[in-house]
């Protein structure tokens, strides 16, 4: 579990660099709130003796929730998000290992639907000393959405270059705390692959599907952004690397994981291009979380002796 926290550190440090104090407040309050609710619910409602907070899972949920939020979000909203994430997303089902949905995403989507204004105003990076008073701007995905809605592909010229999206080092860039630097997230991915915390199947299948599908869309109609920009912007990397790979809510077999990843990638592009929201990653993952038990039932590992047919 602590391996995932280490893998999140590069992205977290970069976010401090870009969003300064706002990022620190949001992440810290999210982690503290998640750990508190985990402890309080298991002690006073479930009346368990064990110390489930020491396994680190609540810390990860807190970090992931925090990194999915804008850095100017007030603490009271974060606390509600943490309560929904841990309380409804996780402990209702019996705690670690039993939740069908990724708790951090349950919290984030609840906030996105309940507080759409606060959840879609993204501070521009570089305002290190500012928190709720930070100036906000458009994310690459909202620019894409505008282009699709207006049908005018020249809007896409406002998009930052792909290299800037990779590094996050862009004037006027904006986004959630964890999504502004794809490179830092990729460093985390490499670390988790090397340490064998996760396998390549889920992240690669998601990213590849989004690349291919949005590439086809771009070829068919240039009003849709180019595939490289699509995979480097929004919560795609964060979701593909850290959220979709959550052990508890993803399929058990490699074949099942690829089906799951491809479906997430497909749904993400569908929501981005035709949905009401600019970003579809969170919803795509939650939808596929619901299909995980079904995938586990029908996709079995190759049994010994069945390999050659």
């Amino acid at each position: 579990m602590y391996g995932v926290i280490i893998a999140l550190l590069p992205a977290l440090l970069v976010s401090f660099l870009y969003f300064g104090i706002g990022s620190a407040i949001v992440c810290a309050s999210s982690v503290i709130a998640c750990v508190f609710f985990e402890w309080a619910i298991s002690k006073y409602i479930l009346k368990r003796d064990g110390h489930s907070i020491t396994d680190g899972s609540a810390v990860i949920t807190g970090l992931l929730l925090g990194m999915n939020l804008p850095s100017n979000l007030p603490v009271w909203i974060i606390v509600i998000g943490a309560l929904v994430a841990i309380g409804i997303g996780k402990m209702t089902f019996g705690g670690l290992g039993n939740n069908p949905f990724n708790p951090a995403l349950v919290g984030r989507c609840f906030l996105l639907i309940s507080f759409p204004a606060q959840m879609t105003s993204w501070p521009l990076i570089g305002q290190l000393g500012k928190y709720t008073d930070a100036t906000t701007g458009a994310t690459p995905l909202s620019i894409m959405k505008t282009a699709i809605k207006s049908g005018d592909s020249s809007v896409l010229d406002k998009l930052p270059q792909s290299l800037h999206l990779l590094l996050g080092n862009v004037d006027g860039g904006a986004g959630t705390i964890g999504e502004v630097c794809a490179l830092a997230l990729l460093v985390g991915l490499v670390y988790m692959l090397v340490r064998k915390i996760i396998t390549w199947h889920i992240p690669v299948s998601i990213i590849a599907t989004v690349f291919v599908f949005s590439g086809l869309m771009h070829l068919a109609n240039p009003v849709y952004a180019d595939p490289l920009t699509e995979i480097l912007s929004g919560g795609l990397m964060l979701g593909a690397i850290f959220m979709a790979t959550d052990y508890v809510t993803s399929p058990m077999t490699h074949k099942g994981q690829i089906i799951y990843g491809v479906a997430i990638g497909f749904l993400t592009v569908v929501i981005r291009n035709w949905g009401a929201y600019p970003e579809g990653m969170s919803f795509a993952i939650l939808i596929m979380n619901a299909f995980t038990p079904l995938i586990n039932t029908y996709i079995k590992p190759i049994r010994y002796g069945e390999e050659k047919k």
């Binding site: 039993n98 508890v248 058990m252 002796g305 390999e307």
Partner: protein, 454 residues
């Protein structure tokens, strides 16, 4: 370098801990009292043919085969039958045993006790049937642990044909070195044994699978095969547990997979035997010596003098542990077998049997289990299962007594290698639950088949 072969699905790399690899085998002392369980093999228990007070010699049959799938038991000592009783064996249950009080060391006259190597080429008159019947009469069962009567494996069921013999010199289980020492000390006898097995099975091709962590054994056997056993090929294998599993070994050596039970390796042409079995076959056929001695490793990190022993069967484990410097202080877990597949014992008065390849003593922290945590469905057990099963599912469904579900999920294919439990980050007792489920389902299937026959 050539890419080494290994099995395709799953597998783990536990710490080797082969403490006794370079220790020459010692003769274990004769026990004062020897205990012979009547059920040291898979199949019907043997039936005693001696009575209380009878005098027996070393190598004398004391119990005859109790059915077709069964094997006789021979006395490893000379003395007087003290009683026919029940006693604990490695399974933890009381089982019928013959107990003999040892007096002197008087052997049956028919046994050839010289060291002279008898080659098959010097005994061309031996027919396949004669070899099989001698193996059957000598009570030989698989020496690697499972203990299936060897003569049955050599007579393939109708509709199948043996194509080759595969000899298991893998010894993938940590700690154990008895097969390795046997290979280093008696290579010629093993090779004659393989020749005999090949003749008995009427095949012209033999393989010896040895893992890369035993380079000296690989070199020794490659040399010996080149110098006179052209039909036997040494196959060096990439180190991975559980390569010594029969089905994994067939996959690794000849790249064929045995179909699901009730299929057996001979369905794909393979007859798999342990090196220890090959040695026992040599002694039985060429030296007229029935199976009453074996190589056993007694090992443990805190044991003062671990070692490899040539032991008379029936010797209590407690005596071997004393010979190694006695039980270490503190908490110890004594296993019949190695740390992965061995059975934890409730008493050290359990005797060495035909399949006891080692006595392993885990001490201190190793002797204890870690508190299990919730399953986080990380799927590590699924990716290491060498049979392609889903251990998390089998374990949970077994714990919930969902026997139909676990039968559908192929629980009887489980080889109980323990890779899932070894790899589980939440330290869940996966194998314990699966064993419960597997034995229950096997019972259900047996009853159902019996009912359907009527």
């Amino acid at each position: 370098m050539m890419k080494l072969r290994t099995f395709k699905i799953g597998g783990i790399h536990p710490e080797e801990n082969k403490l006794t690899s370079d220790m020459p085998t010692k003769m274990a002392e004769l026990p004062k009292q020897a205990i012979f369980p009547l059920s040291q093999h898979i199949g019907a228990p043997a039936k005693p043919v001696v009575n209380k007070g009878d005098k027996v010699k070393v190598g004398q049959m004391i119990a005859e085969a109790g059915g077709f799938v069964s094997a006789p038991v021979f006395s490893s000592v000379s003395g007087t039958v003290f009683k026919i009783d029940t006693s604990f064996d490695a399974t933890g249950y009381r089982k019928p045993v013959i107990i003999i009080n040892v007096e002197g060391d008087e052997w049956e006259d028919t046994i050839d006790r010289t060291d002279k190597l008898e080659k098959l080429s010097d005994h061309a008159e031996l027919t396949s049937e004669q070899i099989v019947s001698r193996i059957k009469a000598a009570g030989i069962t698989g020496m690697g642990g499972a203990g299936f009567p060897t003569f049955i494996k050599l007579s393939p069921p109708p509709g199948t044909t043996a194509q080759f013999v595969i000899i298991n010199g893998v010894e993938c289980e940590p700690y154990i070195t008895s097969d390795y020492r046997l290979m280093m000390e008696h290579p010629d006898e093993i090779l004659v044994g393989i020749d005999l097995l090949m003749k008995a099975a009427k095949v012209n091709l033999g393989f010896i699978g040895i893992e890369e962590n035993k380079p000296e054994a690989i070199r020794l056997f490659e040399q010996k095969c080149k110098d006179g056993y052209a039909k036997i090929e040494v196959v060096p294998l990439k180190q991975k547990y559980p390569q010594g599993g029969e089905k994994q070994l067939v996959d690794a050596v000849v790249n064929r997979q045995v179909p699901a039970p009730p299929a057996i390796p001979v369905n794909v042409g393979a007859i798999v035997q342990n090196v220890g079995t090959a040695f026992a076959v040599y002694e039985a056929v060429m030296k007229h010596k029935p199976l009453f001695e074996r190589y056993t490793t007694v090992t443990g990190k805190r044991l003062a003098n671990p070692g490899n022993f040539l032991v008379r069967m029936g010797t209590p484990m407690s005596q071997l542990i004393e010979a190694c410097g006695g039980m270490p202080d503190g908490d110890n877990k004594v296993l019949a077998g190695g740390p992965m597949m061995g059975k934890a014992l409730t008493t050290t008065d359990v005797p060495i049997c035909k399949g006891t390849n080692s006595v392993t003593i885990l001490s201190g922290k190793d002797a204890r289990r870690t508190e299990p945590q919730p399953c986080i469905r990380c799927a590590k057990c699924v990716s290491v299962c060498p049979m392609g099963l889903e251990p998390f599912l089998l374990a949970t469904a077994s714990a919930m007594h969902k026997w139909e579900k676990v039968e559908q999920e192929d629980i009887i294919s489980c080889i109980e290698c323990g890779s899932c439990q070894f790899t589980c980050p939440s330290h869940r007792p996966l194998l314990d639950n699966i064993r419960l489920g597997k034995s229950t389902v096997m019972g259900i299937i047996k009853t159902r088949n019996a009912a359907n026959k009527k």
